[in-house]
Symmetry: C2
Subunit: 200 residues, 2 copies
DNA sequence: TCATAATTACGATACTGTATCGTATCTATA
DNA sequence: TATAGATACGATACAGTATCGTAATTATGA
């Protein structure tokens, strides 16, 4: 039985590697220079393509930037050791490392700065990074709740926001995050959340 | 004794109102558009001056932007009611309000995004806003420690970072901050920090 | 004392050189 | 043949500068 090939489009086919190179370059320069300062000329040079090559795939600068952000993925392990504090600490340490990568924080800065002008950037960053990370931390706390480890009345979402937000606040204060910071955070939050047995 | 006046300079004196109008306009546009997109033409129009007028006072765009940030001041009350949770909540609610002002978060975004290119913006924002706010919250916790309200071993700076950082994380997640958020945060952190009496 | 010269500030306008987005036109490729 | 890819280009924006006429002040000389 003859294999039926898809109907070929006449003309030269697009090179998918070229497209990927452009997206990689765009994401890199978006983080390094911010949206407004990032230029299509610079992306073209970095990806070793011409500008019309990019315009054949994306209709505008904003279109390309949003496509680049769409390639973002939270690729961090999900600890599930049975110990809530240990899982929180491990997850937060992964987060800390990604924030301290070159331009880790400036990507966040640029999506916030562009909220009024190019809102889809912040929307995509939320969808691809912020929401999945919250879900990871929330899952750890939900498991703790199922195990009966948590006292009643605490807002788990507020706890998650504090755990992640503390890194932003620390960076904003000092542009660095010391080792052991995650442990300090979890120590306080865990004390604030867990069901109390008789302490001695 | 005759008062010795400074030697007057011949020529038309500079109008301090003009200078102030320029700084106000610069700060407004910096927050609204970000550093890179903010233009000197737009500031001149907003402040109803000419560009040479601005260049007579500041040598460059970066010079003007840093001068504008230097005018920032944390002008929030410092609660000292004797109740640590109440003081924390009141302080954080002021913080929340300022973050939710138009462009409150985008100013933070732009100083972060510009860290590599115009680092003095982040440095000044830290000096004028971030550090004073941390000090306010830290003072509340230090008073609690003096009153003997805190358990041993908790890192108060980590607690402060969580309390402020949670607002950044919440904004990043949703571009809004609900009423009562501060209360939820303080409930957890206070439980995590305070000396335990017999709970019932 | 008064009028004028000298000086600086200011608005309005124009200019310079550079950067950037998006498009036109050409050659190369499948 | 039709599309991909490259170079060149047009239009516009922008930071910074130059110029002109007028405004506002001090200094100076009659």
């Amino acid at each position: 039985m003859r294999k039926i090939a898809p109907t070929p489009t006449p003309g030269r086919p697009r090179d998918p590697e070229t497209g990927q190179r452009i997206l990689d370059a765009a994401l890199r320069l978006l983080a390094a220079q911010g949206y407004s300062r990032m230029s299509l000329d610079a992306i073209a040079v970095d990806a070793r393509v011409s500008k019309p090559t990019m315009y054949r795939r994306w209709s505008s600068k904003a279109d390309l930037a949003t496509a680049a952000l769409r390639t973002l993925q939270l690729a961090e392990p999900r600890p599930d050791s049975g110990s809530t504090p240990a899982d929180l600490i491990a997850t937060l340490e992964n987060f800390s490392r990604s924030l301290l990568r070159p331009n880790g924080m400036s990507l966040i800065g640029t999506v916030l700065a562009e909220e009024a002008h190019t809102p889809e950037l912040l929307r995509l960053f939320r969808e691809r990074i912020v929401t999945p990370r919250r879900a990871m931390l929330r899952a750890i706390l939900d498991r703790a709740a199922e195990r009966g480890e948590l006292r009643a009345g605490a807002d788990l979402d507020a706890a998650v926001q504090m755990l992640t937000g503390a890194f932003y606040a620390r960076y904003l204060a000092q542009s660095k995050i010391e080792p052991g910071f995650a442990r300090q955070l979890v120590e306080i939050v865990w004390n604030g959340l867990r069901k109390v047995k008789a302490r001695r």
